[in-house]
Amino acid sequence: MACHDQDVTLLSFWPSPFSMRVKLALLLKGIEHEDLPQDLGNKSKLLLESNPVHKKVPVLIHKGKPIAESAIIVHYIDEVWPGTSPLLPQDAFLRAQHRFWTDFFEKKISDYLDRFIRSNGAAVNEEFIQDCLLLEGALAELGDEEEGPFFGGASMSFLDVMLAPSAVWIPALEQVMGLKPASQEQCPRLHKLFGAVTEHPSAKVALPQIEKLKEFTQARLVSK
């Protein structure tokens, strides 16, 4: 069910995994929105006014009011448009697990990927594979394999949306910069999850193609 006159604008940056999360949430819920790509090297007045504290993307502007920080935005989207494709679980404890593993991913995996990129692939993290394995363990615990490949079973849930950008970023970093993530043998369910993400109709629109991300990554390497 598409929502029309909701006055929703997304200040985006296509390679940003945080921006991708919000785009994906909007598409999963069929929320019509205006997507305004931002030039991060020359920040717009709108961006600086909408996110004066962090001056970052993504920002969601709904009925003139800005919301920043991707996890907070996705929570907001889920609360304002609860009907279609609900993302946060109903159960309080399960909700806490989704938030915990989102936070784990950001502290441990996302942070390392960031350092890996900034160091031109030099940054080493002996814990990286271990962290992937812990995430695999979380999926085994929280996701019912019989229902489907996602943490949410057959459909994507909050944690799936938070992790989805890795489905394109990790292969891009692997192929361009030699990142060594966990293998399919080590993390079979995560591999299946990311495969399902790339096949998902909403994710196909929300996430850039791996080739495009590879070009982007390659270009940044050369310019250093």
Binding site: V53, H62, K65, I67, A68, E69, I72, I73, H75, Y76, E79, V80, A92, F93, R95, A96, R99, F100, D103, F104, L134
Partner: protein, 228 residues
């Protein structure tokens, strides 16, 4: 009121631990408290938080929840009344979450770097960052809840609970990092907020003495210098 057994594993001076105490005490939830020795962590803590082995942990009916803001969110869901912490309005809720998150990203980070700084350059940068962060909070209070004491208006909300624990560390930041909090003429909203928070009985219940915290900050600093 009773919704099963509630146990908190924490450490007396931890700002993250204090958030959990504040949330439970504001709601009048009874709980068992276990003080952890961070140099000799209990088996219970290691089992409850195998990923990080950190406090605080909330154990509700035997099930552990970790990470302070996640715990406070959980507490607010299970015990919504009295004293609901997250506003019902989705936008106001997002604003409260934003400032709680800001506390972690900007205030805690700068304060932590301030205490552990080994060079004057590091100390100065951390001090400037901390000042900037607290200035933003002063501004936010003026914008979000003008003429009201708390982010939540007349009573503390999720953002207030997330940020309140820093108050008892200001003396430590001053003693160890030379950070001087600008006065009420410069930051009227922040000072009004500090006074209001300190007057809440539920907050006073578990807040440690600022002098004790300052001594502890000194200990952390010595260890940081020692290992540099």
């Amino acid at each position: 009121m009773s919704k099963g057994s509630v146990k908190v594993l924490s450490f007396w001076s931890s700002m993250f631990g204090l958030r959990v105490h504040y949330a439970l005490d504001l709601k009048g939830v009874s709980y068992e408290y276990q003080e952890e020795n961070l140099f000799n962590k209990s088996k219970e803590l290691l089992e409850a938080n195998p990923i990080y082995a950190k406090i605080p942990v909330l154990i509700h009916n035997g099930k552990p929840i970790c990470e302070s803001l996640i715990i406070v969110d959980y507490i607010d869901s299970v015990w919504p009344n009295p004293h609901k912490l997250l506003p019902e309005d989705p936008y106001k809720k997002a604003v409260a979450r934003f400032w709680a998150d800001f506390g972690d990203k900007k205030v805690y980070d700068a304060g932590s770097r301030l205490i552990r700084a080994t060079t004057e350059e590091e100390r100065k940068k951390a001090s400037e960052d901390l000042k900037w962060a607290l200035m933003k909070i002063d501004e936010a209070l003026g914008t979000i809840a003008p003429r009201k004491p708390f982010f939540g208006g007349d009573s503390m909300n999720f953002a207030d609970v997330a940020l309140a624990p820093f108050i008892c560390w200001f003396k430590g930041y001053q003693k160890v990092g030379g950070f001087v909090l600008p006065g009420p003429e410069e930051w009227p909203n922040l000072h009004k907020w500090v006074t209001a928070v300190k007057s809440v009985e539920a907050i006073r219940k578990s807040t440690p003495s600022e002098d004790k915290v300052a001594e502890f900050a000194e200990v952390i600093r010595k260890r940081a210098i020692g290992s540099a």
